[in-house]
Amino acid sequence: MTPVLEARGLEIAYGRARAVDGVDLEVRQGEIVALVGESGCGKSSLARALVGLVKPTRGEIRHQGAPLDYRRLKEYRRHVQLILQDPGGALNPRQTVQAAVAEGPRLHGLKGDRVTSALARAGLRPPEDYLRRYPHELSGGQQQRVVIAGALALEPSVIVADEPVASLDASVRGEILKLILGLRDELGMSALVVTHDLGLAWNIADRVAVMYLGRIVETGTVEEVLIRPRHPYTRAMLAAASGTATPLQGEPPDPARIPPGCRFHPRCASRTDECASIDPPVLAGVACHLTPLHLTPLKEIS
């Protein structure tokens, strides 16, 4: 089946920095994919390219199999909607909830009342209670629901959410994740969720793509990647999240100076001499030429 959203050989360069450096990624119908990685790994650039906000230097984006045509971006964005981290910043403080949610359909010339149904779907019930309110009268969780309602009003086929719960309180976080999961289950919507939070992937995603320094280094189902990680970087991330092993030393690397060979080798505990010269492709879901047998067990790293 044709993926709903697809990136092929995608590259995004800002000057000398290769933020995205050859990424293949697909989101299938009704699937939630989590794109995880450290800050600076290029995950937000990739997300922005997927909604047409950044034009890739090389490679292609396809929606339902058709290449993204940058002359017809408006039409494209109706189908692929972006949700950002900070709902306070995404909403106009002088616009009521009604005006904020109605803006998308108005710009796209869509008929009928889409606002109340979108609000209800986003969990703001009864919608009538929210229509006249301003963003400052809403809590952070409610604001994020308004942003999601704004996206839903266009009935997109896929949403790209960049850290959708990172700015929200712990107890509200789960409610918004439930909402995203519900949209998939009830409307068959697809989603790419960009996050640094592996727990979030475990909570809602079907598949995970782990990004490091501009490239996907491991991809697979959530169970494969998070329970039986194969790439040393994925293993280090999981260990850091659970506090069980010494985390990687050093800072997230600089996309303007990508190391030769395997881009992860300077920080890798399992590296061999070959790693400095072999740039491993993503084979069978993992970009590491070492077999699991050769990897240093995490508990011995510290």
């Binding site: 450290e38 309180d169 789960g174 994740l177 991330m237 800072e251």
Partner: protein, 317 residues
């Protein structure tokens, strides 16, 4: 070392902190968990009287037996830095952008310890080294460092005058997973090596569980549950702690797979809190008594207490 008794902080009619009590000894780590607006930062800053004048603070904060809330200004100045220091969240805004980090670390040393500039610089180099920032970079400005390095510099500053207590307010919040783990490890090592007491504030239970022996969970200005960190997370007695613990799933736990858990509703506004349990409106097991009865921290196990009537009922039955 530190004994807080019935601490109350209010801004006008709004009570941000309502009757918080706890104790902390040297070498102990206490995590304060809660959501934004629960009063955790206000509580922590009030310990060293760092709040603006509009805040009214009542209760007792006994540090080595001396009440900091009534201490004379000169005495309080001596306690700050020397005896107790703060690592603020958001290192970029807490550091002065137009002074080198070396100067900023030197400043409290020169002010509080009778040493010359040369000794202060030597100590600064040692401190930077201890937190994993190359000492040769003492002459650099904050913007020349990464977020993780700036947070390390903040920790170096907090350690400058060899305090007995560090209050860390969301020290890793804006940082990446990997850098966050590095900073937590650094703080943990410092505590173990020097026997410093740490109060760490965070909304992230998982972070606190890694770092702290004991936890206190705050909701609407009150501590609603307290006890050993691991026990609190694995076997919470207060429904709010339970909800917080579930909000951060354990990877590999089948119960949370494709099942995110949150709490319906929003945290209460501190201005309109009435009688009874502040959590009752969001609680799935609330009963009539929850809305009227005054909540206290009732014992709920060895070294544990929870402010939930269910705990009392459990005792009775």
């Amino acid at each position: 070392m530190l004994e807080v008794r019935d601490l109350n902080v209010s801004y006008g009619p709004a009570q941000a902190v309502r009757g918080v009590s706890f104790e902390l000894d040297r070498g102990q780590t206490l995590g304060i968990a809660g959501e934004s607006g629960c009063g955790k930062s206000t509580m922590a800053l009030s310990l060293l009287r760092l709040l603006p004048d509009t805040a009214r603070v009542a209760g007792r904060v006994l540090f080595e037996g001396e009440d900091l809330l009534t201490a004379r200004w000169a005495r309080l100045r001596a306690v700050r830095w020397n005896a107790a220091s703060v690592v603020f969240q958001g290192a970029m805004s807490a550091l002065n952008p137009v002074r080198t980090v070396g100067d900023q670390i030197c400043e409290p040393i020169l002010l509080h310890e009778r040493v010359n500039a040369k000794a202060a610089r030597r100590r600064t180099a040692e401190l930077l080294d201890a937190v994993g920032v190359p000492a040769r970079r003492a002459g650099d400005y904050p913007h020349e460092f990464s977020g993780g390095q700036r947070q390390r510099i903040m920790i170096a500053m907090a350690l400058a005058c060899r305090p007995d207590l560090i209050i860390a307010d969301e020290p890793t919040t804006a940082l990446d997973v990997m850098v966050q783990a590095q900073i937590l490890r650094l703080l943990g090592d410092l505590v173990r090596e020097s026997g410093i007491g740490v109060i760490m504030i965070s909304h992230d239970l998982a972070v606190l569980a890694q770092m702290c022996e004991r936890l206190a969970v705050m909701y609407a200005g009150r501590i609603v549950e307290t006890g050993p960190a691991r026990e609190l997370i694995d076997d919470p007695r207060h429904p709010y702690t339970r909800a917080l613990a579930r909000a951060f799933p354990t990877i590999g736990d089948p119960a949370s797979r494709l099942a995110p858990e949150g709490l319906p509703g929003d945290p209460p506004r501190i201005a309109d809190l009435g009688d009874g349990c502040a959590f009752a409106p969001r609680c799935v097991s609330a009963e009539a008594a929850c809305r009227t009865r005054t909540m206290e921290l009732w014992p709920s196990g060895q070294g544990r207490a929870a402010a939930c009537v269910r705990v009392l009922e459990g005792e009775a039955s």
